[in-house]
Structures are given as structure tokens and as C-alpha cells.
């Protein structure tokens, strides 16, 4: 479905993603892990067409993903979420949901002026769908509230729900659980599983190894922009390269602090998490 062929991206002298090749199959859930600065988000930006690779090619469903037309992959069914969605303060929750849907009649200035009936019918269908998705993330009651006024966790859920309005074939998620409370986190995992049942492949950048272990079929570990492991989640802790990447030159046994999501920090010891998986 989605594949990267020998993709490299450098900023000035810094190589953030280094000769990465990967392949995401249908209905697969792939975790993208690695320490901070290992190039996970850059890779996600490359895969979604938000950044152009310095060299190499990314293909989705037979077409090349081009950063010059970053909106195009999304229309073809390759969608992404953001680490910090920064939702608009002066749009309601329901409006953000509708913006995620494909409403061709309403999006055309001509048709929205000349065929109000078609626009209304189109919207009615999408409002139903949006309310359903909002109910699944516990936001139905807030449909008419300003999206920017939600808590960080709620914004993430809304960002995710909006992305789902168009039934994507591949979904790229950037730290979906950072800042989301633990009970919702479990429900989110269920929800993502159901999305997969619906036919969507998922690529998840995540620091919470428990979440990754719960959910993913396969994990790609990155370090310094290169893929250092491609294995089942439970094999990660046994992979010497991965452990070294996380611990670096630190003495073993010292807990490692991984800051996730910028605003929300969490202390995660990779060995305990790995053991749980």
C-alpha cells in the first residue's frame, strides 16, 4: 500500500532520515519507535507528503507522494494526525469533524451558492457520521463547543476522529496517546483495532511501549535516521541495537526519561515496558 524506497532527508548538514526503505501492507498496524531525535516525526512527515525527501521516493497506492501537493495523499486515502493538533478556537468540534469529510458540493463556492439543497443533503449525511465518531471518543456532548477550548487529550481525540471522517486506507498517527488519560488510552487502542477491522492500515509513532506492544503487529525502530530493527514488538527488548540506541552511553540501570508530546512528559523505563509486552 504505502512504501518508501531508499528515502533520505537532510536539513542543512544534518541527516534526519537516512536511506530508509519500508513497506506497509493492508490492515497492518506498524509501530514506529526510537529515541528522541531519531527521525520518527520526520519520517512521518515524509510518508504523508508534508516534507519532500532529499532523495528516494515514497509511493502510495501506485502514485508518488509529492510534497508539492501535500493535500493529495489525504484525498487518496493516506491520512495523518499531529502530535499537537492545535485545533482552531473559533470553530466548533462538529465543524472540525465536517472539515475532515469530503463534501464536494459544499467545498465548491459555486455549488454552495447555487445548490443549497444538495449541500444540505450532503452535510446531513456527514453530520450523522461525525456524531457517531464523536460518540466513540466521548465528545458527542461537546459537538457545539469551540474545538480549541478542549483539553489537550480531547483535542488529540478530536484530531483523530476528524481524520477518520474520510475512511482512510492508511493512517499515520503521531503520538496518539501523549496527554490522553490512561482509561481513554485503553479505549483508544480498542478503537484503533476496530479501525483496522474496517480495513485501514496504521502507522503509529509512539513512546508508550505498552501501547505499542498491545496494538502493533510489527515495529520499526529508528536511530539517527536509520532503521535498526524491523520485528515484532516483543522482540524489541531483546534487540541489542535497540537497547543501545535508547540507553546510549548511559550506564545501564539508570531510568531513561523520554519526553513525549512536548507539553506532557512521562518517565518510561524501557526494560520494564518491554518486559510487560
Amino acid at each position: 500500500m504505502l512504501s518508501a524506497h531508499d528515502v533520505t532527508r537532510s536539513f542543512g548538514g544534518l541527516t534526519a532520515v537516512n536511506h530508509v526503505s519500508l513497506e506497509i501492507g493492508p490492515r497492518e498496524i506498524v509501530g514506529l519507535v526510537g529515541p528522541n531525535g531519531s527521525g520518527k516525526t520526520t519520517l512521518l512527515n515524509l510518508l504523508s507528503g508534508f516534507l519532500a525527501p532529499t532523495s528516494g521516493e515514497i509511493r502510495f497506492d501506485g502514485t508518488t507522494v509529492s510534497a508539492r501537493r501535500a493535500w493529495q495523499p489525504s484525498r487518496l486515502g493516506l491520512r495523518r494526525s499531529f502530535q499537537l493538533p492545535k485545533l482552531p478556537a473559533r470553530m466548533s468540534v462538529l465543524e472540525v469533524m465536517l472539515a475532515g469529510g469530503r463534501l464536494p458540493a459544499g467545498a465548491s463556492p459555486w455549488r454552495s451558492l447555487l445548490t443549497p439543497g444538495a449541500v444540505r443533503r450532503e452535510e446531513a449525511a456527514f453530520i450523522g457520521k461525525a456524531m457517531g465518531l464523536l460518540a466513540e471518543v466521548d465528545l458527542a456532548g461537546l459537538a457545539d463547543h469551540p474545538a480549541g477550548g478542549l483539553s489537550g487529550g480531547q483535542q488529540k481525540l478530536l484530531g483523530l476522529a476528524a481524520v477518520l471522517m474520510d475512511d482512510p486506507a492508511v493512517l499515520l498517527l503521531d503520538e496518539p496517546t501523549a496527554g490522553v488519560n490512561p482509561s481513554l488510552r485503553r479505549r483508544m487502542a480498542d478503537h484503533l483495532r476496530r479501525i483496522r477491522e474496517g480495513g485501514t492500515a496504521l502507522v503509529i509513532v509512539e513512546h508508550d511501549m505498552g501501547f505499542i506492544g498491545d496494538l502493533c503487529d510489527r515495529c520499526l525502530a529508528l536511530d539517527k535516521g536509520a532503521v535498526i530493527a524491523n520485528c515484532r514488538p516483543d522482540e524489541l527488548s531483546g534487540n541489542q541495537q535497540v537497547v543501545e540506541a535508547y540507553l546510549g552511553r548511559r550506564r545501564p540501570g539508570v531510568p531513561l526519561r523520554i519526553v513525549a508530546g512536548g507539553t506532557v512528559g512521562g518517565t518510561v523505563d524501557i526494560r520494564t515496558n518491554g518486559a510487560r509486552a
Partner: protein, 299 residues
């Protein structure tokens, strides 16, 4: 040839200090401050008023007073208006600075009248410099501009204040984290920016005359210089001013008739002021980060 260079230098000295002040303020306040150019007539008007009130004080004293007044005004505006406006985003700050520019211009007109005024400077016969002609005052203006530029860049490189300014311009968060009092340094920087614009205005008024509307005429050329050089880039401002001056001088003197071989044919003078605008557009479209940018080309 020499004449073109001299003309370019004269025009550069019109723009360079004001553009440098603009980029200096932009570096720490992060929005294009349209009111900045009004510091030029303000400084010149205060200098003229001081010169008229204290005839014994000499030109230098009056100029210093005018430059300091411009710096002070820029600092007060930043402290009481732009700090707050910038919090609401660059759009608010931009519109707010337009409003302040209008108020300053109207205020200056109300106080100083609409009629242009002149400093009492001696008129000297022109010098012939290898075929190029220029006057003592023009030489002085170019020299003072050069001295100010050298002094400013030396200050930026060599003093602790200069290092703080550069640190804040490069990364405000990091600078604050490393113990720099960002707010104080920002205010001092804005003060310096206003002072530079004030000196620029005083030099302009010295060489020709003080026109209260000078800010309006300077707005786009100065922004063109700042943008062509790269908004926020300090050497860029000077190079941008030179580029604008060179383009204006060259385009106005290129004889398009030579190509068509039917007598001299120049670009109509009415488009002279358009050269700066055209350069803004061209720069923004093809090299939005300006000539001097650290980031390199766009992806």
C-alpha cells in the same frame, strides 16, 4: 561608471541605517513594524526643533538629541503598544503598526506643519571625483553612515550587549534559558533600532530637507531593502539597501534605445519608485528568505 557607483552610495546611505534599524527590531520583535520608518522624520524634526531652540548648541548636539528621541519613541511604542499587540499575532501587530504610523504622521504634521524645513548647513561647490560629482554634505552623509555601520557591527561583535542581541535574535527561548533578560535586551535593541532610523532621517534632512511625509516615501524602499537582504538579517539590511540603490540607479540609466537603435529611450521616471516594489515582489516570490539567509533554498 564612478558616477553610478557614487549615486548608488548616496541612495544606499538614505536607506541603509533605517533598514538596519528595521531588521534589528524585527530580529527581536518578530513582526514587520511599519511605524519604524516614521522614526526617521521624528528624529529629524526633533533635531531641527532643538537646533532652532538652542542655536548655540551646534548641529551635533541637535542631531544627538533627535536620534535619542527617535530611539526613545521606538522603545516606548514597543513597551506600551507592540508588546501587547504582538501577543495577538503578527497580523495584529502589523495592522497596529500601520495605525501607529498614521498617528505619528498626523501628529508630526499637526506640530511641525506641512511645509518642509531645512537645516542651516553651508552650501559648498561640488567636487569632481574622477568624473563623478558630489558635495561635501553628501560625502559627510556617506561617511557618517559608514561610521555608524562600522560602529554598530563592532558593538554587535565585541560587546556583551551585542552578544545578547544576537542570541535573542537567533533563539529567544534559548537566550532566556541561558540567563539573558530578554525583555530588557529587546527594549534596548528596539531603542537602538529607533536611534539608527533617527540618524538616517537626520542625515536625509541634512542633505536635502525635512519633509514630514518622508516616512511614507521611505516605507516601501526601506522594506524592500530589508526584505531583499532578508528580514531580520543585519548585514542583509545593508546589502539590501545597496541592492535597491543599485537597481534604481541602473534601471533609470540604462538606455533601452540602444537595443532598438532609435535614440535614447529610458524607462519612464514615473516608475522609479516602482523598482523597489517590483524587487519586493520578485524577492518574495523567488527567494522569500532574502539574499542573506542561513537556511538555504526552499525545499
Amino acid at each position: 561608471m564612478i558616477q553610478i557607483l557614487i549615486d548608488t552610495l548616496i541612495r544606499t546611505s538614505d536607506l541603509a541605517l533605517i533598514a538596519l534599524g528595521l531588521n534589528l527590531s524585527y530580529g527581536v520583535s518578530r513582526f514587520p513594524n511599519v511605524a519604524h520608518v516614521e522614526m526617521a522624520p521624528l528624529g529629524a524634526a526633533v533635531a531641527l526643533a532643538v537646533a532652532a531652540l538652542f542655536p548655540g548648541g551646534g548641529l551635533v548636539g541637535a542631531a544627538v538629541a533627535g536620534a535619542l528621541a527617535a530611539g526613545l519613541a521606538a522603545m516606548l511604542l514597543h513597551r506600551f503598544a507592540f508588546e501587547r499587540l504582538a501577543g495577538a499575532g503578527p497580523a495584529s501587530a502589523l495592522i497596529g503598526s500601520l495605525a501607529i504610523a498614521m498617528m505619528l504622521r498626523a501628529g508630526l504634521q499637526a506640530v511641525f506643519g506641512t511645509r518642509p524645513q531645512q537645516f542651516d548647513t553651508p552650501l559648498t561647490p561640488p567636487h569632481d571625483l574622477w568624473g563623478a560629482i558630489l558635495s561635501d554634505l553628501q560625502i559627510a552623509a556617506i561617511a557618517i553612515t559608514a561610521v555608524c555601520l562600522i560602529g554598530f557591527f563592532a558593538m554587535l561583535r565585541l560587546t556583551p550587549l551585542g552578544r545578547s542581541i544576537r542570541a535573542i535574535a537567533a533563539n529567544p527561548a534559548l537566550a532566556t534559558a541561558s540567563g539573558i533578560d530578554a525583555r530588557r535586551v529587546t527594549l534596548v535593541t528596539v531603542f537602538l533600532g529607533g536611534t539608527l532610523a533617527g540618524i538616517g532621517g537626520i542625515l536625509l534632512a541634512l542633505v536635502t530637507q525635512l519633509d514630514i511625509g518622508m516616512g511614507q516615501m521611505l516605507l516601501l524602499p526601506v522594506f524592500a531593502a530589508a526584505i531583499v537582504g532578508g528580514l531580520g538579517s543585519l548585514p542583509g539590511a545593508v546589502i539590501g539597501a545597496f541592492a535597491i540603490a543599485l537597481a534604481e540607479t541602473l534601471v533609470m540609466r540604462i538606455d533601452f534605445g540602444l537595443l532598438a537603435a532609435d535614440g535614447p529611450r529610458y524607462l519612464p521616471l514615473g516608475y522609479l519608485t516602482g523598482i523597489g516594489f517590483a524587487l519586493i515582489v520578485v524577492t518574495l516570490v523567488y527567494r522569500p528568505e532574502g539574499l542573506l539567509s542561513r537556511g538555504g533554498r526552499r525545499a
